[in-house]
């Protein structure tokens, strides 16, 4: 009977999980990308819960019906080889499920890797987000502003993050706006996000990067375009310019807190965009074991000496 107890426990946990006392960050999206991901997650939880329940029901059935204590002493279990039809079904149904999920995933992949849905006709705001131990630097080339550890973005405009790192691999993640992407030292990756509603969101580095990793967070404030423009003007009036020396100091390991500068570091310390970027990576892919690695060969390293 303890078994049923655990099963009950499992099921109740699932219910708690599905209903959620408070909305979980990832399931409380505030932008189109996160919304797509949340809906993928919910669909897959549904389908997966179905599979788990089928397995559990079958298991309980077998255990209850065929436990030795219920069977006569002289009962001899039969010898049963496989049954092609039954096994065919047991292979066929999972294949169908996987096919459905694959279809959803492939579609989502292209969606999250391009300008958010509904925002296609707008020029994206490009922000360079670079990490150094253990902080984030946000450069707004268009506005000529750089901030540390906080991010202001306008709502209703697609944002294109250009990610790279001045140290270990990090991962740029704002759960309520969309999933994460790595920032690395020798290439620039691109993350497309957009915020539908104004608000404050948690952002962090999700990839372990050493001692200061836990506090490697930033806040994201989404606001209307007018508010955003006001902020930009204000920064230009009040903030100090970012010099190369200051920037070198900023790169020292530490946390810093929030900072604001006019100008960006992109001039004197450009992003590693001469390397391959992920846009050109998709060309000529083959479904082949080493496709992933061979692609790295396309680098034009020799060219930039």
């Amino acid at each position: 009977m303890k078994l049923k107890g655990t099963l009950l426990l499992l099921l109740s946990m699932l219910v708690v999980f599905l209903s959620g006392c408070e909305p979980l960050l990832v399931l409380d999206p505030k932008g189109p990308q996160a919304e797509r991901q949340a809906s993928d997650i919910m669909i897959s939880i549904g389908i997966m819960a179905f599979i788990v329940i089928v397995v559990m029901v079958l298991l309980v059935y077998m255990l209850v019906k065929y436990r030795a204590s219920r069977l006569p002493d002289d009962y001899e279990p039969p010898h049963i080889e496989g049954n092609p039809i039954l096994e065919g079904i047991l292979i066929g149904v999972p294949i169908i499920i996987v096919a459905i999920l694959s279809f959803i995933t492939v579609k989502s992949n292209y969606i999250v890797e391009s300008t958010p849905e509904g925002y296609e006709d707008q020029e994206p705001l490009v922000i360079y987000a670079s990490s150094s131990n253990w902080k984030w630097h946000f450069s707004y080339p268009e506005q000529d502003i750089e901030t540390v550890n906080y991010l202001y973005i306008p709502t209703d405009r697609p944002i294109e993050f250009k990610l790279y790192s001045f140290g270990p691999i990090t991962s740029f993640w704002i759960p309520q706006l969309g999933g994460q992407k790595y920032a690395m030292a020798d290439m620039v990756t691109t993350l497309h996000l957009a915020a539908d509603t104004p608000g404050e969101y948690m952002g962090r580095n999700a990839n372990f990067s050493g001692k200061g990793f836990a506090e490697n967070t930033f806040t994201v404030t989404a606001m209307t375009q007018t508010k955003f423009d006001e902020w930009v003007d204000e920064v230009h009036e009040t903030a100090e310019p970012l010099t190369e020396d200051t920037f070198e100091q900023l790169l020292e390991p530490g946390h810093l807190g929030r900072m604001t500068f006019t100008g960006t570091h992109l001039g004197f310390s450009p992003a590693p965009e001469h390397e391959h970027s992920d846009d050109e990576m998709d060309s000529g892919e083959e479904h082949k074991m080493h496709a992933e690695k061979e692609r790295e060969m396309h680098t034009e390293h020799a060219a930039h000496e």
Partner: protein, 198 residues
């Protein structure tokens, strides 16, 4: 040990058969090892940083010499195994000895090559490319070095004990190893040097 006389000497006991079979599996793992190195090399090929590129440092002369020597040694080890099969101890020893000498010649040429790389500024630390190149070549060279000492051990044993199930088995396995290194070299020659020089 039961000796089965219907089999060639090197296969004639059960343990001998196991040894040979196991060695084939080992070679399978070695293939993966070198495949990984080649993959790394192909990825790193153009990542030369501030250091020289392949075409700038490769020299066809010494490489052809090394290739020629190693191919010849593969031939002589084949002859040694043949001599062993027909029970000619002296011939076998001679061919085995020649093989090992060729191995030494190969190694000295390779060491020369490394010295040359060092002089033209392609050291182990220079760039991703040189690290991958020298590790790939070095792993092969290390295998040849190991093979040389192994071969010497076998040579001494055949000299002392003659050709029997034990020594035949060892010599045969050694020949598999030596051929394998030769094949790896052919890949190195084609995909590292020729490709780099073209």
């Amino acid at each position: 040990m039961k000796i089965d006389h219907t089999q060639p000497l090197e296969y004639s006991t059960q343990q001998n058969q196991l040894n040979i079979f196991g060695f084939w599996i080992f070679l399978g793992a070695e293939i993966m090892l070198f495949a990984t190195l080649f993959t790394a090399y192909f990825i790193m090929e153009n990542r030369t940083g501030n250091g020289p590129t392949g075409p700038e440092i490769f020299e066809i002369g010494p490489v052809l010499f090394e290739t020629f020597i190693l191919l010849t040694s593969s031939f002589t080890i084949g002859l040694a195994v043949h001599a062993m099969r027909i029970g000619r101890k002296k011939a076998m020893l001679a061919f085995l000895g020649v093989t090992l000498l060729l191995g030494v010649a190969f190694l000295s040429a390779e060491i020369n090559e490394f010295v040359h790389y060092y002089h033209v500024g392609a050291t182990y630390q220079t760039s991703g490319f040189t690290a991958a190149l020298l590790t790939t070549l070095g792993t092969h060279g290390g295998h040849v070095t190991l093979g040389f000492f192994w071969g010497v051990c076998i040579l001494i044993q055949v000299m002392k004990d003659g050709i029997n199930a034990r020594t035949a088995n060892k010599s045969f396995i050694f020949s598999l190893y030596w051929h394998f290194l030769d094949v790896v070299w052919i890949f190195i020659f084609s995909f590292i040097y020729l490709k780099g020089l073209m």
